[in-house]
């Protein structure tokens, strides 16, 4: 009977397409919007990825990585002296305005790293050399910035080109790959000493201290020791990432906006699928009654309905997640909007779609269970 159930479903093309469309739309909306949300959250912590350090030490009042409070330069030495710390290096980060030769200006996320150790340097340099950063007035720009800062995006900024930051010259000696920042500003790397020259002068300039645990030491334990010894706040990269993510979740409307769209996708999918499937059952009520009269048990009919709903559910899910993935591949090439599809997301969408199918099937099964087979004798 089960293959007949599939033929009954596929035979009613209009309803079949409607069901698939509804579930595809639901799966697409839930996956795509959740993936964009995850992408934005990933951007929130992109500095942590672009500046790869295992331990981040910041002012105790700092709540997230993109909003740091300046510390004293001597704090680097205090961190370095804590037991279990292998190395510690200063880091400057700030949003500064660049002035291009053609008069245009753009904001960049300036990262100043230790010139001696290059701790926190970009990992994937695609043009130029990291060592050239030790030359005066030099910067390494990220690939996105090389296009964004250029007057003509078809001719990205290349090695040797110059612009100004705070009336000081900056010469590009490298192009690197980075993950996009939350603000959308390109990353610009230079040395710490150079960064504090570019940045407007304030009493304290040190944004963070980057540190590494000695071999055999647990970074989380070392971070706790730094907390106790210095009164500063030290986090492992992972801790600081989640602290930042939760700050954005609690303090911005981002989760509400995306959550509302995800819920909308679920509700629309549920409404379309349940309504369409229920009307499919109603339209077939006489036929289902005839099957019941001919000796089909409630169990057989329930299995037929479950098969029909879960078939359209899984096809709709496949189409929806497939479209979301295609969308992701396209936007990832262009860099906008943010998109990150962790493996858990398709599973959560699958669970939601299966729940929708189960609910739609339950309505149909309930109707059939209460159906008197004698209905078929009524003209």
């Amino acid at each position: 009977m089960l293959n007949l159930a599939l033929k009954m479903l596929l035979g009613d093309k209009a309803k079949y397409i409607m069901l698939i469309s509804g579930l595809t739309f639901a799966a697409l909306l839930m996956t795509e919007q959740a993936a964009i949300f995850c992408g934005i959250m990933q951007w929130c912590g992109s500095t942590l990825d672009n500046v790869g350090a295992p331990i981040w030490v910041v002012d105790p009042m700092v709540e997230q990585v993109n909003d740091t409070e300046a510390m004293r330069d001597t704090d680097v030495g205090r961190v370095r002296s804590v037991e279990g710390v292998a190395w510690a290096a200063p880091l400057y980060q700030g949003n500064l305005r660049t002035h291009m030769r053609d008069g245009s200006f753009k904001f960049v996320q300036l990262i100043g790293i230790d010139a001696t150790t290059f701790a926190g340097a970009p990992r994937d340099i695609i043009q130029g050399r990291l060592d050239d950063l030790r030359l005066p007035n030099t910067v390494i720009l990220d690939e996105y910035g090389s296009k964004k800062l250029s007057h003509d995006p078809a001719k990205p900024i290349g090695l040797g080109e110059t612009f100004e930051i705070n009336d000081r010259e900056a010469r590009v000696v490298g192009i690197c790959k980075t993950r996009m920042s939350f603000s959308g500003n390109p990353y610009l790397f230079t040395t710490y000493d150079q960064a504090v020259q570019y940045a407007p002068s304030t009493r304290k300039m040190l944004s963070c201290v980057l540190a590494g645990a000695a071999p055999g030491q647990d970074p989380a334990q070392v971070a706790r020791r730094i907390n106790q010894a210095t009164g500063l706040k030290a986090y492992t990269k992972n801790e600081f990432f989640w602290l930042s993510i939760w700050w954005y979740i609690k303090n911005t409307g981002i989760p509400v906006a995306f959550g509302a769209t995800v819920v909308l996708g679920f509700v629309v999918g549920l409404a379309i699928s349940s309504q369409t499937f229920y009307s499919f059952v109603l339209e077939n009520l006489r036929n289902l009654g005839a099957l019941k009269a001919m000796g089909a048990s409630d169990g057989i009919l329930a299995r037929m309905i479950m098969l029909q709903t879960f078939t359209v559910g899984l096809i709709g899910y496949g189409c929806g997640v497939g479209l979301a993935t295609v969308f992701g591949l396209i936007v990832l090439k262009k860099g906008m909007p943010p998109f990150f599809l962790p493996w858990q997301l398709p599973l959560i969408t699958l669970a939601a779609i299966l729940f929708i199918c189960w609910l739609a099937a339950s309505l149909g099964i309930r109707k059939i269970r209460n159906l008197e087979p004698a209905i078929v004798f009524r003209g």
């Binding site: 009977m1 007949l4 009954m8 077939n284 005839a290 099957l291 000796g295 089909a296 048990s297 004798f377």
Partner: protein, 237 residues
Amino acid sequence: MNEIAVQTSSVCKGFGEGEARTEVLKEVNFEARMGELLMLVGPSGCGKTTLLSVIAGTLGVDRGEVDVFNSSLHALGKRAVTQFRAANIGFIFQQYNLIPTLDCVENVSVPLRIQGQKAAVADKKAAAMLETVGLGKRMHHRPNMLSGGQQQRVAIARALVHDPRLIICDEPTAALDSENGTKVMELLRGVAARPDRCVIVVTHDNRIFKYADRMTHMEDGRIDHTDTKENNALEHN
């Protein structure tokens, strides 16, 4: 006299509650025998279809006994009644009730598939039955590609394919013209009526009365009288 296939004793069935309650079957005593084609006739609303539903086990009774092939149908559990129907009863409906998205072979194979037979086996038997009812060339047509008469022949094939002992027909010719109605009844007489089978036909259609071995008249929820060939009463209808 042939063995009794169906017997009801003092069957009562009503619908509704309180003042709105209507007694449709009132102390109905009815019997149908193996090897006969029995017609159940009477004016609209006299309870023919309700009695048919009760005999088929698709409707319960308020009081009385219903025995089909010596099984007290309403003493059986719901699941057992369903299994009994699947094994012993073939149905022919006024509106055919063929599944529109399935072709003729698939529609006819439904009772076999309900019994759990494999699709290939069921389809083979269904195809043979379609040959028997003269639709061998229409096996893979869908119901909407067939005339009303052809659709009813598919329904007859479906009712017979699992070789049931009781065939229940509800107004099988009501939606057909005279020519197709005659064909359907001749088919029922020729293929369905056998010594080891009982055919009960509910009908209004006096054009087909001549095909009956016996004709039971209902009136206001009661069996009024039964005409038989022996008493020549059928000739006068």
